[in-house]
């Protein structure tokens, strides 16, 4: 699994991705990619300008705040530059960047989870990636100020937010999310139900 995360181009399962650009745009994009692959930073900046808003939107929804989203967006493009020669142009660049963003986030989340696990007392559960959450045991979430869906999504607990964004905003299937997150199917469904319930409550106020 970690190989998939480190090498997004090796991902086997088809993932939802942005629609492909028109063929003329695609040709122009590939010309820019070819230049960037040869080390042309100006070409890479043009690719950044065209793709960063989409990567940032995804990053913002997955992380829930602008500072983390900006950092994730940076990581995505630095990683893309480093791996650009492995980009074969079979898919649109936006799809490739999309996979890097999702993989980078979950690699980071797993690293944080492992670090947290080392200092956690025995029996103490982490809030966001915990086992299935039963109705009535949801930790209090501050969604009082949520006045629209974006803000309500940002206010969700991290685990529930990521599953909701991947499933209901982007359109990943359960098995794809399970593979990315390492969550069991039951846990994943519980997180999704939890996110939907919290959002419906927040938006009803």
């Amino acid at each position: 699994m970690l190989t998939d995360l480190a090498e997004p181009e090796t991902t086997i399962v088809a993932m939802p991705s942005p629609p492909p650009p028109p063929s003329a745009d695609r040709d122009a994009e590939q010309a820019l990619v070819a230049r960037a692959q040869r080390g042309d930073v100006a070409a890479f900046e043009t690719l950044y300008r065209a793709n960063a808003p989409r990567v940032f939107a995804l990053s913002l929804r997955l992380t829930g705040n602008r500072a983390d989203a900006a950092e994730l967006t940076q990581d995505v493009f630095v990683h893309a530059w480093q791996r650009l020669t492995s980009f074969r142009g079979e898919a649109a660049l936006a799809s490739w960047l999309h996979r890097i963003a999702v993989n980078t986030l979950f690699m980071r989340a797993r690293g944080e989870h492992r670090r947290a696990a080392r200092v956690r007392f025995t029996g103490e559960e982490r809030e966001d990636d915990a086992a299935p959450v039963e109705q009535g045991t949801v930790p209090p979430v501050d969604v009082a100020q949520a006045v629209d869906l974006e803000r309500a999504i940002a206010a969700l607990p991290p685990g529930a937010r990521r599953v909701f964004v991947l499933h209901d905003v982007i359109g990943y299937r359960h098995e794809e999310i399970a593979r990315l997150t390492g969550l069991a199917e039951g846990t994943l469904r519980a997180q999704l139900h939890r996110a939907r319930r919290l959002l419906m409550e927040a938006l009803q106020r």
């Binding site: 994009e29 590939q30 070819a34 960063a52 808003p53 939107a57 967006t73 630095v78 905003v169 419906m200």
Partner: protein, 218 residues
């Protein structure tokens, strides 16, 4: 679930995700048909999912993000695969021809007209090429056309021997380009061939640019 028992959100979620089968699904459908409260709950859930799906795909990042990315980019070019020996040799031949041409042009010696005989290039249609090769073709087409036109307009101002030398070198490069394109049509996934194709185009642009620089300033 009895007919009077309301459907909880988890079950409704599974229902809208099409994860209920057979009797389970029929029971939920029957209940929804007769329970306004659950039907309303379902409508709210569906409305939430439609709104989530309709969120904008793009949000402009803070302007500082590119500056930070630029700062973190390694100074070297992205790593590349090492070309095969025969391809290196082919590239070296092109470089030797170019170097001697450019040197001759720059020192303005009376060049010897070299009647370079090269095999006619095998033409490969653009559609036979993999997309990355087509994009390399397209990426250099404009620059080459402009430099070609500029040189053609003032061709008479150059020494005929110099023109002959330039054309001979261009001919060699064009053959190398055609050979790389033909090889890519046979082996579309070969990244080294893409590198060679791009390098040959670079050489062509460089030679045309140098030739244009030799023209007297107007």
């Amino acid at each position: 679930m009895t007919r009077n028992e309301h459907i909880d959100l988890e079950r409704l979620s599974d229902f809208v995700d099409d994860r209920l089968l057979g009797d389970d699904r029929d029971a939920v459908q029957d209940h929804l048909a007769s329970c306004l409260s659950c039907a309303s709950h379902l409508a709210r859930l569906q409305s939430l999912l439609e709104a989530a799906h309709a969120l904008p795909d793009e949000i402009e990042p803070p302007p500082a993000v590119w500056a930070d990315v630029r700062e973190r980019l390694p100074r070297r070019a992205p790593s590349r695969q090492f070309p095969q020996r025969w391809l290196l040799a082919a590239a070296a031949v092109v470089l030797v021809v170019l170097s001697s041409t450019v040197t001759a042009l720059l020192v303005r010696r009376q060049p010897v007209i070299v009647a370079t005989k090269v095999a006619p290039a095998v033409t490969v249609a653009s559609m036979q090429l993999p997309p990355p090769a087509r994009s390399i073709d397209a990426g250099y087409a404009v620059a080459i056309r402009q430099l070609d036109e500029a040189l053609a307009q003032r061709r008479a101002e150059l020494d005929p021997a110099t023109i002959a030398k330039v054309e001979a070198s261009l001919n060699v490069i064009d053959v190398a380009i055609a050979e790389a394109r033909r090889a890519l049509a046979d082996d579309p996934a070969n990244r080294t061939l893409l590198d060679i194709l791009a390098a040959n185009y670079e050489h062509k642009v460089e030679l045309l640019r140098r030739a244009n620089e030799l023209l007297p300033r107007t």
